[in-house]
Symmetry: D2
């Protein structure tokens, strides 16, 4: 099995739900021994795990408890379904970012009856304390921050390949675990009852498998669920753009000239927040419909080259490549901040800045000054990688929406009667999307109105939903 660049491309791409809690900042684990070389035992006497330091469990527990407060939908799901244990018998192998928020998901699955084994989908994103806390309670976790490529696959294998236990469900984020099981343990793969996949890349891979006729298991595409699409991009970016800029540069927003490249959901979220704090925002777009929305929303639509000299901040949100070119970087004014909120680290042509005539100066963590021969400095954040991945946090509440969707998808696939799902990739039924949303309303003390019989009939709807047509996105 070739571990090629495409694999690691995926781990970068799926990174977009990463979120650092403050815990990571204070993590000064200067112990240099590899976790693979340590012998560790939790207080229950088990050593079926591999984490950085099992002693950090208590600190990790606190982080999990903090996360629980904003994930009451999952907690309420625990309570509603705890009696019936809808996941009794489920043996779930999971591969996701390992953070306080995913810990809440994992512990929910366990509370609903599942047995879980877990590994990390990214070599940098594991919160070591949280991994320790999970291991301490008996979940076999194989993950630490700063794994090597070899560690990465070793951990995945340790999750899958264990005596006397065979996974029957897969929860994946990026498709690496799925691929590993598919390639290495085809007999296990065939007996899996369902795969739940969150990332763009992983979903893409599943559709390819399906096209090739090789997907012998039903899979649920969580990435394109309504709740994820409607809430993740717009609201996450609205919440995190200010935070990401402030933590890195202490910039004042009032009166700043900002150009946002791309007015999709991500761009809309960024623009809303920046305008509200007093920035003067303009937009670049290739799509006339989005451009017209920008106009109606009060943003000038410009070409980047027309305005680049005046801008204080340049933000890319396009999903495209080379949106900010070297030639444009050359024309920026002194002190201009450049960063990326889109989906890949190719939006800004960072490679072009690694040339001999330019000096790079790392002024703070995630902040580089690129210095031109005439002394002009451009402030590059996170080396062009995703700003909110690198320099801010994603609200726990929004992650709760995704995690709840994942839990429901697992329950649905595990309990679906024979024949409901074929060997294909499915979207979550609209009604379950609405159920996810409804589980989150109590956080806001929001009270839904119920249709009267008469009204339901008038509208041609069932009183309990779904309320949206199937094509609603």
């Amino acid at each position: 099995f070739p571990v090629g660049s495409c694999i690691f491309f995926s781990t970068v791409v799926t990174f977009h739900v990463l979120h650092f809690s403050a815990a990571s900042y204070t993590d000064s684990s200067d112990d240099e021994t590899s976790p693979r070389d340590k012998a560790q035992v939790n207080t229950q006497g088990s050593s079926d795990f591999c984490v950085k330091n099992i002693k950090q469990a208590e600190f990790g527990r606190r982080e999990i408890e903090i996360a629980e407060q904003d994930m009451s939908a999952l907690i309420s799901l625990r309570k509603r379904a705890q009696g019936e244990k809808p996941l009794a018998g489920a043996k779930i192998v999971g591969c996701t970012h390992i953070t306080a928020q995913t810990a809440v998901l994992i512990e929910t699955l366990v509370a609903l009856g599942a047995q879980c084994r877990w590994t990390a989908c990214n070599i940098y994103s594991t919160q070591n304390e949280v991994a320790a806390a999970l291991a301490e309670t008996g979940v076999p976790v194989f993950a630490w921050k700063g794994e090597s490529e070899d560690d990465f696959w070793w951990c995945i294998d340790r999750c899958v390949n264990t005596e006397g236990w065979q996974a029957n469900m897969i929860l994946d984020d990026g498709g690496d675990l799925t691929h590993w099981v598919y390639k290495k343990y085809p007999s296990v793969f065939k007996k899996v009852r369902g795969i739940v996949e969150e990332s763009v890349t992983g979903v893409h891979r599943l559709y390819q498998l399906s096209k090739a006729g090789k997907l012998c298991v039903p899979a649920m595409n969580v990435n394109d669920s309504v709740t994820k699409q409607k809430f993740d991009n717009l609201y996450c970016c609205r919440e995190s753009i200010l935070d990401g800029l402030k933590r890195t540069t202490d910039i004042m927003f009032g009166g700043k000239q900002v150009v946002v490249c791309g007015y999709g959901e991500v761009g809309k979220g960024c623009c809303t927040a920046l305008k509200a704090l007093g920035a003067i925002v303009c937009i670049t777009e290739i799509d006339p419909i989005c451009a017209l929305q920008a106009c109606m929303d009060g943003f000038r639509v410009v070409k980047l080259s027309e305005v680049i000299r005046q801008m204080d901040v340049v933000i890319t949100c396009t999903g495209n490549k080379n949106v900010v070119t070297r030639e444009q970087l050359d024309r920026m004014k002194n002190g201009c901040i450049v960063c990326n909120m889109g989906h890949s680290n190719t939006e800004i042509d960072v490679a072009s800045l690694r040339s001999p005539e330019l000096t790079w100066e790392r002024v703070r963590s995630q902040v580089d000054h690129i210095i031109w021969p005439d002394g002009k400095r451009v402030v590059l954040l996170a080396e062009g990688r995703l700003l909110n991945l690198s320099c801010s946090t994603v609200p726990t509440f929004v992650l709760s929406i995704t995690a709840t969707t994942q839990a429901l998808a697992l329950i649905e696939l595990f309990n679906a009667p024979e024949g409901r799902y074929k060997q294909d990739v499915y979207l979550l039924p609209k009604k379950m999307d609405e159920y996810v949303a409804s589980l989150h309303l109590p956080n806001f003390d929001a009270h839904l109105t119920e249709l009267s019989d008469e009204q339901a009939k008038y509208m041609g709807l069932n009183k309990n939903g779904p309320f949206k047509p199937n094509y609603y996105r």
Copy 2:
């Protein structure tokens, strides 16, 4: 052919793009003679029209010129296509509201080579001066404000049934014209090359015909085009809710407690504007997804009964019936304003207010005080009909988007090669939606960015679009 209530229901429903220019206010045409009984001749000597007063043509021309300024997309379409006359040979019979804005559309069709005959889709909405201006330039128009039901069908018939001229295209708003031709002139109907329909009702009728296998002509559903959906509801309501409330009640928005029933596009538009002007807005919803959006956008989600006593203004935007019940009207506080921005006049149970113990007092045009026995007054606007239809104007620019879409749909159907369109109902191709949007960008001096070859390849897109997937709505 039976003229039943369902017909007139349609004329009410399709009303939602109505728009009064100031012209209507000053129209004191006290001449009581029916236009059908008058002999009128335009300055070119033609009498092939029937309008209120041909002498108002000059005044109408001014209104058309004012409208042209905000409809530069149509003007630019005129210029781009004028040389090739893509509608040469087209004989279009049209039935729409007759306003300055539709006049700009009609004159564009003529400039592109079409011959047009026109009538009104609503007995109240005709701007007499505009009808006169059109008749003066030679367009046979049959319409005036305040037609009787008999007049309505007489006008339609005069449009269709004329010697030496046979329509080959239909532009309809509500489906009455289409129905008339289908029923009365089946031989004409069969030879029509295409129908363009704008309204919900008309589209509904077309789908029914199609289902019944009786639609022998390709039809274009303009109502569900992207540009109309994305711009009409949200932005029209954002622009008109303040205007509608101010013109009728002179209300101050600052600090007012407002409940908006329904957080779809219409509700979102209303809430944005009201909150921005200092109102304190809460929401009712039946759909958990929309409810969650309202929460994230900063609105409390409540049941109407919980808050009804405190509210200063109640606005319905649901598309449902009896959303505001008599029992809730009974509990409103003195001076509460109630109005409807949704799709039908059934959202507020106005019928329940026509009971002997309540007194109605008409205090201004479109404003009634309903007086309870204890002296409490509720302020009902437009008798529960659409507020922005009755009491404000719709921005010409938004109407321009729809009109441009109609013109393009006509061009497409008239010029499509044999076989591209079957006897079915079609949506505008995504690419033409984007073309409509692009024609409107110069109004804002907006500059689109072009994909480089490399970028287009990376994204898997054609440089000229379409940029949206087909399922985009």
Copy 3:
């Protein structure tokens, strides 16, 4: 007594609190007889008044009742003070705009024990129906819409000069009444116990009298009271700019390029509303402090000449003259709208447009197209006079703040112990400003917090206020 231009200048300037209720629009009083030549009697048999048509009383009463709903502070003042009749014995002669809102003030004064005689401070602003309603209840009113200059002074004189009744209080708006009494009836003037003046001009005249040592009466400057300053300019303009533009031009705000000249309170109010509705707003300023505020609030600060070619709307709010010059009008683009929200009609150099090469075309009431030889049209609103005076309404609630302040000032001056007020011009004590504000809080169901004894001591404040230092403005 010379009636010079300075007098009529004042009537224009004081106009800025004018407000048309819808009543005025429907007023088609085509009766051409001068009210001075009519014999009218109210239902009580009195003919001590002169109004357009006493029969309109019922319609006026309805307008007054509507106004009362948003003026509950005055109503509550009536209730609190009705028992003690603090104005018993007061004989008030008043000269203000005669509208539904001032009617509520006048009837409050009567309820508190005062006798009132009233006239209009402006020859155009009287709501005839309201004047009739007041006359019908027994208040001697002398005013109608469309008075001649001679009528104006005749009415004032009829108010003051009546047998068996001598005014001991003056409520003025503009200073014309005060001047008339001072000049014509010096013996009355000397015995007056206090003058309450609302307008900039009137206050200016009082200070001049005072400086010249000729003010033998204490006067209260209501114009500079905190509540008026803090609420009138900012909130009135925020509420009325959108309304004024919509009613005249049906403009869509989304994406419009707007320049606002002047970023004082008026400019701030306009900018807030326009930006919120999607306009792209920039600012001109002469004062660096206001300019810096504009920057921090997210508005570009430009020179008018730099941007004039691109603007869709130009709004003046400076209080200065020739802010928009002929040369700039020459450079505006076709369809540009120009209007004035500032304090005088000199901000736009309208005079320069009355030249032979330009054509004026009145397209609607208050809307002129100025047409350049090349066909370019500039849309001038209200001939450069105040837009919100001419083309929109002022919220009743804001007028209530001023009216309540006037009532309290009258009570204070009438009841003040000998010696508290000398022959000078006074500002309302801070504590009474706060009382005015507190009377308006119930409209919003707002609940004030009370200082504990301990907190009051800590802050060095009295528990009942005043809470603001004296220099607070």
Copy 4:
């Protein structure tokens, strides 16, 4: 000389312009030796300074350079005045927070000809690297982070008491330096040409000295300058409230119920930002005028006790004490966040939480969970001290406004002709306020408009200002 509580109260109060750059976070100076016991020499061979570690100079220089980018007003002042050296001969002793921003001020003073000696006004706020960078360039600095009380006075003394150099100007923040010179070196004090004081406390002390007839030197009150008042409170809080909450709690703002106690400038700034990000904000107020503004701005005005159970976040901005009482803390819901943006750490009754039945748990830096016996947790930030002081940064640009004002005040006092300033406390002349503002406009590429002669005359203003009346605040 008694070092009493009042002194340390002052160091707390004056803290409100504190600002942590990211530098502080990475400062792991584990060297435990007191700087007083170290022998350090800079590269020029001087040892006339006392800082934590002179070797951090390079890192500090980078921070200063970053700060310079947002302080271009000072840089431009350097350039404009560098030729004439208006501070040549000035010997300035300074006592302020020692941060990158004050370093830019100090280096500006030096560039204008002054000799400076500097110390810290707060024992915690010094950025050690910045102090090192200043010492390296030859400014005698005596300050480090974590001074003892004894160190604090020792440093002040070392600044003042040096051979062959006698201060003739004082720049103070808090009044401690001024007091020390006044008490310990009365002969130096008498020869000082001017004092510039920034803090509320320091200004208060100066007024007391002046009242007592003991102020033998002219002093400039920078705290009450227009630019500081108009920009510091409103804009600083608007910028920092979101940052402070995010960095400590990673809270999502959308849909959160927030109560802000106090609607002065600080409260207004907080409310604007929170509402814009989707929080649902209500207000408590004691002052009816501010309460009415809150209503008009769209915030419900409530008593804290009415809403305390529903709130997600409670923020105090009153300047008062015990605004949040133990009884209210008892009634908060689980997870409620409580913090203070006002002027003292007494707004929340934190002392009442230090009782045996409650458990404190420090979950992150500056974040405590207070745990009730039933398990309820309240999240207390910064132990009730100023949130933006403790947990976020203040925009450099706003600090630049204050620093520029300080520099101009020093120049004015140092160069004023004999007799212009007496032995009293002065406010900066309005014209200099406007000059400070104008120096900051280029940051925004803002272009001021100039009055024409005719306009200046019409307004009765000088073309170069001042434009504001003296009473403007």
